[in-house]
């Protein structure tokens, strides 16, 4: 248990002259669920996208399961097969059926044979409760179903870590529950998860730890009960006040 699943030290990221991440240190133990919350523009999605190098860090070090991703000579494609990513906008391959969405990377990247890839795909489709959609095309599915297929697609690579980038933000409210349910089940099964989310209730119930980010820094971190239930920092308090009670009239008025 000495080696962390994800270890980020001194991570910096700038877009041109805009500094988005200004020095982030995060350690995620195996089997932990860490939720990242914070206002938009705080850099939380950028942080997540650095963990599988979709964004190239400007400085700092990222180690996932003992592989240093920030090493310029790293085989990033191989490393990414161990890191599942779920996007806000699902990003299912629109020209492929659900089954082929789940099989294509298994076949072409992991070089699994068709029989094995299909078995893995069907098993994961069952896990997200969509066995009946195996031959559907993505545009025939609701947003919630598409997102669950996207989760199953990531799981089919047998990842060690799953990254979720606001997985429910593009969904109609009544579809959010299905996706969160699948994520909760994954957490119960012991998957290491890093989740950028606005779902405070989910973070509170499922997360082992919560990070609050603002202005490119981790402002506060700790157990969910503490960060969401009894935030210490003033910026965390005002953010949570606005998120948990959107019609709340602050002391400064609105």
């Amino acid at each position: 248990m000495s080696e962390a699943a994800v270890e980020i030290t001194g991570l910096k990221k700038s877009f041109g002259s805009l500094d988005v991440l200004k020095g982030i240190d995060v350690r995620v133990e195996r089997g932990d669920v860490v939720c990242i919350i914070g206002p938009s523009g705080s850099g939380k999605s950028t942080l997540l996208r650095c963990v599988n190098l979709l964004e190239e860090p400007t400085g700092g070090k990222i180690v996932v399961n003992g592989t240093e991703l920030t090493d310029p000579d790293v085989d990033i494609d191989a490393a990414r097969t161990r890191i599942g990513m779920v996007f806000q906008s699902f990003n299912l391959f629109s020209h492929l059926s659900v089954l082929n969405n789940l099989m294509v990377a298994q076949r072409k990247v992991l070089k699994r044979d068709a029989k094995q890839a299909q078995e893995v795909a069907l098993r994961n489709l069952e896990r997200v409760g969509l066995s009946d959609k195996v031959n559907a095309m993505p545009n025939q599915l609701s947003g919630g179903q598409q997102q669950r297929v996207a989760i199953a697609r990531a799981l089919s690579m047998d990842p060690d870590v799953m990254l979720f980038d606001e997985p429910t933000s593009a969904l109609d409210p009544e579809l959010v529950g299905d996706v969160l349910g699948v994520m909760r089940q994954l957490a119960d099964e012991g998957m290491t998860m890093l989740v950028v989310t606005h779902e405070m209730q989910f973070a509170r119930e499922v997360a082992d730890r919560v990070l609050f980010m603002d202005g490119g820094y981790v402002v506060e971190e700790g157990p969910a009960e503490q960060v969401i239930g009894a935030p210490q920092h003033e910026r965390t308090q005002s953010f949570l006040a606005r998120v948990l009670d959107p019609t709340h009239q602050g002391p400064t008025g609105a």
């Binding site: 523009g41 494609d77 629109s94 020209h95 606001e166 593009a170």
Partner: protein, 274 residues
């Protein structure tokens, strides 16, 4: 009593219909129908043209077009990828090629390949190679820009999803980007095929054996024996047999892909946001 605006518009429209009817009636009375039929649609001449119009001329037009389109599509894809390459000289070469061959007449390319190259290099192409190269070289210049636009229209999220699953850049291109790009550009590619169908007539510049005639050459040759517009009208209609269905296909594809080209919300999730 003054007419309302709506009534005036109605009267004006009725007037236009009346004018058309009068003109048609006058033409019908004045025209020499026998003469018109002899010069425009002489059934005897038309009958003589079959079945060769279909079995030779139409068939050859289709074969020539298909050859040129296939070669042009392959070359166009290479040019499109060159235009998107991070290697600057590739981009320059592709740009020069595209600008050059879009800017010169296709006929010039046919002449270059059928007369220029043999004279200069002593290299003689057969008819199929000539038409494939000439149509393909010109078609590729147009198709390259279309394909490039299609590749760039593939949502960025699709590429990110592929890379996140461990696909290399090349694998992503082959497995995700190019298949989706072709779906997007199917309607404009169909239009390109229509243009090539018509440009295949330029092969007339080469001396063709009788069994190599395509539609235009066939019509012209029939015309030289039968002084009537009928042969031209017949081959014209044969072109429509190809181009009208393709046009419909193109519009159908446009309607089908237009509404749901992108199946996922794709406005956010990039860069700095959230």
């Amino acid at each position: 009593m003054a007419l309302s605006k709506r009534q005036r518009a109605k009267a004006f429209r009725a007037g236009q219909y009346a004018l058309l009817v009068v003109v048609a009636a006058v033409l019908a009375v004045v025209a020499d129908w026998g003469e018109i039929q002899r010069s425009f649609f002489n059934l005897e001449i038309a009958a003589e043209m079959f079945p060769n119009a279909i079995t030779v001329a139409l068939k050859n037009t289709l074969v020539y077009t298909a050859l040129g389109f296939a070669f042009g599509l392959a070359l166009g894809l290479v040019l499109a990828l060159m235009k998107l390459s991070p290697v600057a000289p590739y981009r320059w070469l592709a740009t020069i090629y595209i600008e050059f061959f879009r800017g010169v007449p296709a006929l010039l390319v046919f002449i270059a390949l059928s007369f220029g190259v043999p004279l200069a290099f002593g290299l003689q192409f057969d008819i199929y190679s000539t038409v494939m190269l000439a149509l393909g070289i010109v078609g590729a210049a147009y198709m390259a820009e279309t394909i490039r636009a299609g590749i760039q229209a593939v949502p960025k999220g699709q590429i990110e999803a592929a890379r996140s699953l461990g696909m290399s850049q090349g694998r992503t291109l082959l497995t995700v980007v190019i298949p989706q790009a072709f779906r997007i550009i199917l309607p404009p590619l169909t239009n390109e095929l229509i243009l090539l169908t018509k440009d295949s007539s330029l092969i007339y510049i080469i001396g063709l054996a009788r069994d190599q005639y395509e539609l235009t050459k066939f019509g012209r040759e029939t015309l030289s024996r039968s002084p009537s517009l009928t042969p031209i009208l017949v081959v014209g209609l044969c072109y429509l047999l190809i181009t009208l269905p393709l046009g419909h296909l193109s519009r159908y594809l446009e309607r089908r892909t237009g509404g749901k080209k992108i199946s996922t919300p794709e406005s956010t999730g990039l860069g700095v946001s959230a």
